[in-house]
Assembly symmetry: C2
């Protein structure tokens, strides 16, 4: 029986703050980073995982991944892979580590990355990309992987099973359509706050020319430039293109309502992160005030318990899962099923580094075997840093093309990881001393 | 002008899992630990801070403290101490580190410890214990220290100022009474799940003999032993002693309601952490179902935004702040003012290691200058590990006696920190190989 070795962790960072790619009202100078890990077994099997971060602090996530790795080292791989629900609980509910969250922040993201590396090993064993591996699992196995702790008042295992059994009808046909046509994408590339008006307009037109019918702009810097940018973009793309806006938690509840009333004439399709994603009641208040504008959130929602409440409180129209914020595949399965139970579409958050490569699998699986619907559903797409991955996302006709390689999509090229290892990598030596670059 | 040096961090752990002190339905084998730091300046001034944890993972908090320390190193101490509100935001809202929470979990606790060390330096400069330092500050300075981000819909700076101005009336008299008679305590020492019935009864009687009129028992292991323990304790202490119970988030919402209905005949004074402290709506549902039993929570509430919602949703009767869970003194000032605004008593969580020493200052300040009331208010007391601190808490007639030494109460004896440094300390060498002891 193969045994788990010590986990290998790397602190990989890219100096994106040298451009203003990725700049918004809160994240003004991110250096897109990955706390990266490889789980290996003594028989040579390997699984990859990562947590995305914005630069400083990536070393803290890396340290947490090392600590969770110690909970796995020496265990039998087959035992872990045969019950990934139990493997997840082993980490998330560790009686001492739990205090660090519980189930939130650095410790939760780190546990999720280790759990994801185990799913990567399981999918590789099966020779399937994660989305297809999940779609081919019997509904009972999906239910077994989910931790219903603190959500059973909203979703019981029996309800989850019935949703998944319903998702079996027409599954093969939907899988074929995903493999042929892919899944709809929207793009945030035009809309960063750091960009000039000219660049925003040019990139918005290019996005529409490339077939995108939903684009997203960052807002929340100041109201006048938000109105100006929305106006020129709306003029550039016309009324038939959906324009979403994203405030990255910049506002308090009263500010959000006042600000959004001044933007409503430009007909934004959704407002994303209008306020703190901890604020379930605040999101519900804002949604009532700005309807019919849709309210979206989720990239910073730290676990299924907050998503449960956002749904129970009718606080959101769009649920945005993130692939490295929560406790891995298991918890995102819970999030997909909660969304289906409450009839809310999932439009995953992506961008950063690796997030597109990972999160696409959840939407492909959702269409294949959970919601069975593409209505009002898109995966976020940002054209950053894909070249560093073993299987970069492919966008054709503004749609994500189905990933084909076995695994969860987290594998980054070894030479990229070496070159951008922080702080010793050769890439960092070359940019040393330049402005706004992260430190450790 | 004195400049901040690099921060010194120690991973201090005590092998409490060798006893079953501190055992509950979730924390079955804690090794009470402190991620400990000292901020020093080049003029020799020093401030102490710590984050409490349960053992494994303490190294992750220590790493996060080091990272936040790098944001302070080389800055002018006087600038930081003259505006502790700005100093807090410098850490909590760092544009890259923020992604690690935001404002929750490991990163938030670590930022809080660094912020607390700065308050320790400020109070030492003034020659006052923290509670007295805060009580003597003008209301405007308290308001300046508070971050109203994402709570202004519930508490505005103007409302906070008016509350604090009202707290000035009779303040000197209340300060005298605190210095003479102290502040009411309750004790959790009798009620750990790991204790035998005989020990629980004996310790409960001792507590009442020592003047405590509120004791707390851990519940949530299994319903039959919970009923048995509550029955024998109620028989031992009589009807006039308040008995609170604490489930440490063990239950889902439906389980909590069913379980508590089976315990209600023993008239528990409050139920603490009936479910996840992320679950604002769940707490509100439970409170409606179990009234008039009080609902208490807070030791795991990760920031002011969750406390705000617990109050807005009328989900709690008792608000339990913790001294090392949130972003330091600044955020607990916000929590005290939110509680006052909504008319809810604050009964701080304590125990662990150092939590009694730190948190007592907030209740003393609350009575002196915020709520001005002792009604239904107690500070938790657990008799563990006080001997390691420069100023151990003093309990007389079941009341905390006013701390007198300048600072926030976090200073731990250097020899204790050395002996119990993990894993190299001599204490750990002596217990090496014994059961249930933490690893790094």
């Amino acid at each position: 029986m193969p045994l788990i070795n010590n986990i290998k962790v790397q602190d990989v960072r890219f100096p994106t703050s040298l451009e203003l790619d990725g700049s918004d009202a809160v994240n003004v100078d991110p250096d897109y980073s990955a706390a990266y890990l490889m789980v290996t077994a003594d028989n040579g099997e390997v699984g990859h995982g990562l947590v995305f971060s914005c630069g400083r602090g990536n070393e803290v996530i890396a340290k947490a991944i090392e600590s969770y790795g110690q909970l796995l080292a020496g265990r039998e791989l087959d035992d872990l892979l045969s019950d990934l629900g139990a493997a997840s609980k082993l980490l998330v509910h560790d009686s001492q580590m739990r205090w660090l969250g519980p189930e939130k922040g650095v410790s939760h993201m780190a546990a999720g990355a280790v759990i994801n590396a185990l799913w990567d090993m399981a999918a590789r064993r099966a020779g399937k990309p994660l989305w297809r591996y999940l779609a081919d699992l019997p509904p009972e196995k999906i239910v077994d992987a989910i931790d219903f702790t603190h959500i059973s008042d909203a979703l019981t295992p029996q309800e989850a099973l019935e949703i998944l059994q319903g998702g079996q009808r027409g599954k093969e046909e939907r899988i074929r359509s995903l493999e042929e046509d892919g899944y709809p994408a929207y793009t945030t590339s035009p809309g960063w706050l750091g960009y000039t008006d000219e660049k925003v307009v040019r990139l918005s037109k290019e996005a529409v020319d490339n077939g995108f019918d939903l684009i997203k702009l960052k807002v929340g810097g100041d109201i006048d430039s938000d109105r100006r940018r929305l106006k020129i973009v709306r003029e550039a793309v016309g009324e038939n293109v959906k324009v979403a806006i994203d405030a990255n938690q910049r506002w308090d509840v009263p500010d959000a309502i006042e600000w959004l009333q001044q933007l409503s004439e430009f007909n934004p399709w959704w407002i994303e992160e209008a306020t703190s994603t901890d604020d379930v009641l605040g999101h519900a208040t804002i949604r009532k005030a700005v309807s019919p504008m849709k309210v979206a959130t989720g990239e910073a929602v730290h676990n299924r318990i907050i998503f449960k409440q956002l749904l129970q409180a009718e606080a959101i129209d769009v649920l945005q899962i993130d692939s490295t914020r929560v406790a891995g595949v298991n918890e995102n399965l819970a999030n997909l099923l909660l969304a289906k139970k409450f009839g809310i579409p999932v439009c995953p958050h992506a961008g950063g580094v690796g997030l597109c490569e990972l999160v696409q699998h959840f939407s492909f699986f959702d269409y294949a075997a959970v919601s069975g619907s593409l209505e009002n559903r898109y995966i976020e797409y940002v054209d950053h840093l894909h070249e560093h991955f073993a299987e970069p996302v492919v966008i054709r006709n503004a749609r994500y093309q189905a990933p084909k390689k076995p695994g969860i999509g987290a594998e980054m090229h070894a030479d990229s990881r070496t070159r951008w290892s922080f702080p010793e990598g050769s890439g960092w030596q070359e940019v040393a001393g330049q402005a706004a670059v992260t430190f450790n």
